[in-house]
Amino acid sequence: MIHLKINGQDVQAEEGMTVLQAAQQVGVTIPTLCDHPDLEAYGGCRLCVVDVKGWRTPMASCTMEVTNGMEVVTHSPEIETTRKTILEMLMSNYYDAGYENGQKQETQLMQWARHYGVDAKTGMAPAPRYAVNSDPNPFVWVDMNKCIQCTRCVRACTDIQGRFVWGMAERGINTHPVPGADTDMLDARCESCGACVAYCPTGALDNKMSMGAGKPDKLVMTTCGYCGVGCQYELNVKDNKVIRVTSTEKAPVNGNHLCVKGRYGYDFIHHPERLLKPQVRRYLLEGKKKPFISKPLALSNAEGSATSNQWDWVETDWDTALDITSQKLAGIKKEFGADTIGVLTSAKCTNEENYLMNKFTRQVLGTNNIDHCARL
């Protein structure tokens, strides 16, 4: 254990911890931008500087390790002035073209600018230096005018996704992230996981599908419906519509990380082809015999036409559809036996639904003919 003082308070920290982590541990908030607990420390933005006794200049707390007897001051008029100056300098290279972004809340950069009284409108660069929406990736909005060179995108792609799409190009004021050898993201082998967007603190990388969608009415934590990893995330809901998926460190399996389907494959939910009314074939409503759907192999039959209007869909209310279905199933069971009915339950549905399908098959129908796509 290392013993140090933070703002006069005795603090114990584990060896190898940074000053920033030691401060966070005791509830002291130091402003940060380039730092993120999931990523390797970088020490680039300098917003987290603190005074350390015996050091001539303010030190970046995100890269400085704790040592015994260290005395740290995280907030003083001088430090706060330094931070404001840093934000003003960052802002002088920042340019906001004025569109509504795709974020669920105010970006981290804007939060700190507001906190330190730095006005983004008056303080920002006079003109853009890059094209807005400069990458054709359908999920990631790129606007390098908002970039502060914190490299969180580079580290997210390297440390978390392990894909190495982003790197820093050029020098000095022109330094900025580029995909691959300054090509586009997909060409640089991007897997569209959106980690770079999730970790970007400025909106330079943003959710293209959510641009202008606004802020959510609510965030609902749920479990992804694609693969078996069991990632959790927040569905951003506005007016009964999912407008965005955001990752959260609260997810037990995946933390802030997701894949392309989880983060960006949600728009099927509101697709216009969704089935919204029960439907039955006309022959069922009219009590007729089932027409041949197409010509059976060895037979040809006058009824055997796919265009038979007896085969048309008719929208019904729930009672009609449920009554017809239950009568048909009960009839087949009575005439041919329960074992002539099969049930396919669903690996996409919940445990509760699957349990009921199992109960339905075994208790109500009286057969064990139940399976699902586990084999396929």
Binding site: V260, P296, D339, T350, V364, N368, L376
Partner: protein, 544 residues
């Protein structure tokens, strides 16, 4: 999975991935493995005919010929045994039948194995050396192991390997099948299988039947039911007359599409509960609109047996209804129409549920491994992996720590068997099938996701540069792939991901679905089709 994703990714000294395209099919777990290799130097052995993405992080890539996994595993175990690298105390204390197993393995010297698998002898040695030196090692697999006529035997041989190395029951080890669908684990756990009630209580065991008869108040059927791969052919034999299908699309996902379509044409009655019109809905008599995961509350069980809440975020769209409500309404109506099965005073005979939390309470009562997993505990932030038998049980992140389910682990002697379909002069190449990163299974969801379609908007068939050259195939040209059952045409992706003699196709797009070509050769125990080996002919589609 016998283990959990975090202990595997944080504590394994080595990973052995065989028949799993982890970084595309379980992408977030794939990134955990990439991080382990990059950040802490864990060794990664990948055995896969294809140069899948995760091989970029591999210490060693073994490109076995499709359908030769047993020979490969036996060859590796031969070297381990020859050198005395097995975990003798684990074998002594925790296992049985070792000698019989060893006798079989000793029939697989590396030279013979190299001939069967086309993996060079020195690579087989290298694999055995890494496995002997880097412990614990976690084994991961998916459908590349199971979708063979020897699927069950493949899995048993992987269990042999892990017992031989003593990698069972400890963090960073284990046998870890990666379950495909979000809740395929739960669907199995909940009795969505023809031979078992929830928690794998066998329908052929008197004790289990009595338990559920008492609980549900209905006599039980003593006969093991049909698997999906048996129900479908059963239609043409008059054995299957009606199907109630929830959220599945057999036309896309089952083998030999032409045969499936023909079967559905002959089916007496098909009820489909779905969120979209699908390839299968064309054959449905009734369509009942269920809801997407965003509109429902309940639980999913992930690949590591972790039960997690699904929360309703939006109200059901239109007149769509909760899937559990639809099933319950059908149950109530059918019970009224079949008075001989009207349930008695049994505690769980009824179908009146106010919400899915009440359904979970019934699951708790009847499913020993889920006995203590309630919505209330999950909502309170508890992280529960089954078995979790009681309300105060913390769950079980790692299985088989002290003993196996049957007591001692039984080594099984497993011999190599060739795939059901062999290439010949007419169909000289091998096709394997699977999914790609951007799409999901039959594609009903992802083909309706706009951005995803921009990145991957049509089926691509992977062809090796060697074969492309032989065929005179240029990049972006179309190929026609024909098997004994069907034909598809799709754009070729010339890539060294596939070795010469092999093509890879997916089943995401109805106009070029690999399942038009696949066949229903089944594993005799699991009844899983051999999707990974289909003999095909590949031709260039000449432009008109």
């Amino acid at each position: 999975m016998s283990n959990s994703m975090d202990d595997v990714s944080q504590q394994a000294q080595a990973f052995f991935i065989i028949g799993s395209n982890t970084s595309e099919q379980h992408p977030v777990f794939g990134t955990m493995l990439r991080q382990a290799v990059r950040q802490r130097g864990a060794k990664l052995i990948v055995a896969d005919p294809r140069k899948i993405d995760i091989t970029e992080f591999a210490t060693l890539h073994l490109r076995q010929k499709p359908g030769t996994d047993i020979a490969l595993l036996n060859g590796i175990m031969y070297i381990i045994l020859k050198n005395g690298w097995e975990d003798k105390s684990f074998i002594e204390e925790r296992t049985e039948n070792f000698d019989e197993f060893k006798a079989t393995v000793m029939q697989y010297p590396p030279e013979l194995v190299a001939e069967i698998t086309r993996v060079p002898v020195e690579k087989i040695y290298e694999a055995a050396e890494i496995m002997a030196e880097s412990k614990p090692m976690a084994v991961m697999w998916a459908m590349g192991i199971t979708q063979h006529i020897v699927g069950v035997r493949n899995v048993m041989d992987l269990a042999n390997l892990q017992m031989l190395l003593g990698n069972m029951g400890k963090p960073g080890g284990g046998v870890n099948p990666l379950r495909g669908q979000n809740n395929v684990q739960g669907a199995c756990d909940m009795g969505g299988l023809p031979d078992v009630y929830p928690a794998y209580q066998s329908v052929t065991k008197e004790e289990a039947r009595e338990k559920f008869e008492k609980a549900w108040g209905a006599t039980s059927n003593t006969k093991v039911g049909l698997t999906v791969t048996e129900m479908m052919p059963g239609i043409l034999e008059g054995k299957t007359r009606a199907l109630y299908v929830l959220g599945e699309d057999p036309v896309m996902s089952d083998p030999n599409t032409k045969h499936i379509r023909h079967s559905f044409e002959q089916l007496g009655f098909l009820v489909l509960q779905e969120i979209f019109p699908s390839e299968t809905s064309a054959y449905a008599d009734v369509l009942l609109p269920g809801v997407s995961f965003a509109e429902k509350t309940g639980t999913f069980t992930n690949t590591e047996r972790r039960v997690q809440m699904v929360h309703k975020a939006i109200d059901p769209l239109g007149d769509a209804r909760d899937d559990w409500w639809i099933t319950a309404e059908l149950a109530k109506r059918i019970l009224l129409a079949t008075p001989e099965r009207i349930p008695s005073e049994a505690p769980f005979s009824g179908w009146e549920y106010a919400n899915t939390s009440e359904v979970m309470a019934e699951i708790n009562a009847l499913t020993p491994s889920y006995g203590g997993i309630s919505h209330a505990r999950l909502e309170a932030g508890e992280r529960l992996q089954w078995p979790c038998p009681t309300p105060d049980h913390p769950g079980t992140p790692i299985l088989h720590t002290k003993q196996f389910t049957r007591g001692k682990g039984k080594f099984m002697p497993i011999d190599h068997v060739s795939p059901a379909e062999k290439p010949d002069d007419d169909y000289p190449m091998i096709m394997s099938t699977g999914r790609v990163l951007y799409h999901w299974h039959g594609g009903q969801m992802t083909r309706r996701a706009e951005g995803i379609m921009k990145v991957y908007g049509e089926a691509l068939i992977e062809v090796s540069p060697y074969d492309a050259d032989k065929l005179g195939l240029a990049e972006k040209q179309f190929v026609r792939v024909t098997s004994r059952r069907g034909v598809i045409e799709a754009q070729a992706w010339v890539t060294d991901r596939v070795p010469p003699g092999m093509v890879y196709a997916n089943f995401h797009f109805p106009n070029a679905s690999a399942n038009e070509l696949t066949h229903a050769a089944l594993d005799p125990i699991a009844k899983i089709p051999e999707y990974k080996v289909t003999a095909v002919k590949v031709e260039v589609v000449k432009e008109l």
